[in-house]
Amino acid sequence: MRIGVFVCQCGTNIASTVDTERVAQEVKKLPDVVYTTTYMYTCSEPGQQEIQRAIEEHNLQGVVVAACSPRMHEPTFRRAVEKAGLNRYMFEMANIREHVSWVSNDREANTKKAIELVRMAVAKLRFNQPLFPSRVAINKRVMVIGGGVAGIQAALDCADAGLDVVLVERRTSIGGKMAQLDKTFPTIDCSSCILGPKMVDVAQKENITLHAYSEIESVSGYVGNFAVRVRKKATYVDWKACTGCGVCMEKCPSRKVPDEFNEGLSFTRAINIPFPQAIPKKATINRSYCIYFTKGKCGICAKVCPAKAIRYDMTDEVVTEEVGAIIVATGYDLFDPSAYGEYGAGQYRDVITGIQYERILSASGPFGGHIKRPSDGREPKDVVFIACVGSRDASVGRPYCSGVCCMYIAKQAILTKDHIPNSRSYVFYMDIRSPAKNYDEFVRRAQEEYGVQYIRGRVGKIYPRGDRLVVQGMDTLLGIQVEVEADLVVLATGIEASRGARELAEKLHISYDQYGFFMENHPKLRPVETNTAGIYLAGVCQGPKDIPASVAQGSAAAAKVLALFARDTIETSPQVASVTERACIACGKCIEVCPYGAIRWKELKGGVRKAEVITTVCQGCGLCNATCPPKAIQLQHATDNQILAEIEELCA
């Protein structure tokens, strides 16, 4: 085999701690290597052309690029060698940047390490075979999981482009957190006024199937052809019949049901429609509060419902949806501040969370849009906001910044002044994080026009004095302790991964970080793709962000799906297992272990059975390869011979 090796300098990223010239010289001595060179930026246009030129000029049959991580540029270079007429699998990469030049400054050791890595790559390449992808048809339906603003945006964009969309929402209505907000920064427009029409759109689009009050049961398949089982939880109301008239809700005698939508600040009924703008606008019975279910009597709703929609005997139903791509937009939950005993959260009724305050401010909220204290209904005069509660706090396991609270504090302080002109607001903060268009101006306005007092420092303790609360904090700029007597304290509780995010990620085979936020493929260059082809991310489920960023990511995910669906078929990777029939002893171990059911029996003449791989189903994990006793089944491009060649090159 005629092999060419290209050693990349990556500007100085590699060259500063690896002697790339020496690497090129040393590997030139290897058998089969007929050409080596170094290059400043191999992935650049001229760099790729240089490879193509060398392939032609030196008649190369295989190429090794020693550069960055293959996770970064393997696809780039595979395309490049293919253009020059080589099969894309006649190419190997040696990672001498992420694994060498960036993790040690020892030039001598690095150079030696780089040489060895290239030698291993060359050794493997000698065993490479040209591989050819097969093609499968794409099912051009898309599923969106999570109906917050990010999911809604993604669903609408896909539907507008003519795709069939399945939207799965866990709660009884879509809308997510944004539906609970009063007004939104930095323009202070009414949240439900801008979100409402989008929610109605979802309901009206014929090509959107909405499964509300539903969760993902299991996922199988792969890009282009997923099969998702969706559990539709029992609502005890036939939603096809229910007209959303609300009569049941009025008459239901179980009236002490904490209203989740109002964050526990008011009560709702056992049968309820969560809020007036809910989509779908249908009633659901909350079993744990319904007298019929808890005590076996009542049945009033069934009597009064004009549509005869009540079904006490309803059970969960599981439906299977087949789709070609999935967008995950499951959003977030809020940190439970009762971890802060010193703030008396959960102890003092007038210490509330930011989202509770949104409900208080909202005209559709528990107090009709009048700011009142939960304890006694009195209008507050002094309101204290505390930033970073459950954020940037390693002691509660949340060292990251929630990204939106600085802004919503400013918003809420401004709105407080609008509602109660003679009120005063105080904000305890560590840093103000407002890096987007018109954001810092917004915070400045809160300070300059609305007279909000910003105090730089954290709060140590909150305790009652009479019917007020004393907030004991620090003004670190002055270096003295400050005390503020407040009527209401709002804790800017941080954002955390939504409940059940980890379990969902495991069903989808996507990764999550240590806090439960889903991992993007690349933090800068592939922020909406996951590591699993055909699954995309949108909104806060990937990491804290505000509405504009969530919407942008929703649209971006939709664009990715559309790009995927622009073709009728997709290539499947040829890096799949394949059986050498002659060696197969038909033990069936591979069939047992394959997680995808990609291996079946093939009957030969005379009743002989041999294992056979369904190449479009095989995902290339190699489990069968490691399991097979006679090594009859081999994972292409990672065969035993290839891996052993690498080992031998290094150890022998």
């Binding site: 996770r71 940047r97 694994h99 690095n110 495991e506 990764s511 489990l623 035993d640 052993l644 150890c651």
Partner: protein
Amino acid sequence: MEEREKTKNNTEMRILGFLCNWCSYGGADTAGVSRLKQPTDLRIIRIPCTGRMDPLFAFKALISGADGVLVSGCHPKDCHYSVGNLYARRRFEVLKDFLPFLGIESDRFHYTWVSASEGQRWQEVVTEFSRRIHELGRNPGFDMNTNLVNSEAR
């Protein structure tokens, strides 16, 4: 051979790492991108999944003179291929028990889980494992005379 002599006198050990493509290889990349400094002894081989990791590979490396073998994959339940790493774990446990019969310290083999986001954890794993191998010193390798069992395995 000449190369081999040089390394012998050098302080560097010969450590082989088998990393799954989805989690740990990414974790090692993350460590690199964050410039987290590590000992230079390790050479990484990328495999699709720890499920692909045939104990034979580790075995082959150790009897051919590698001083240590490190395998790292996705956290349990987090495997890109759902269960590959669980099968792997079972095999590695067997391997660890088996090594001493060949006169190889079982400490020369280590497997762990590192996710793509855990650059810092990767740094710790590499540093700790390299330290351990330096402590154990050179792998005397497989001795034909005392361990005949092995000739057929090879």
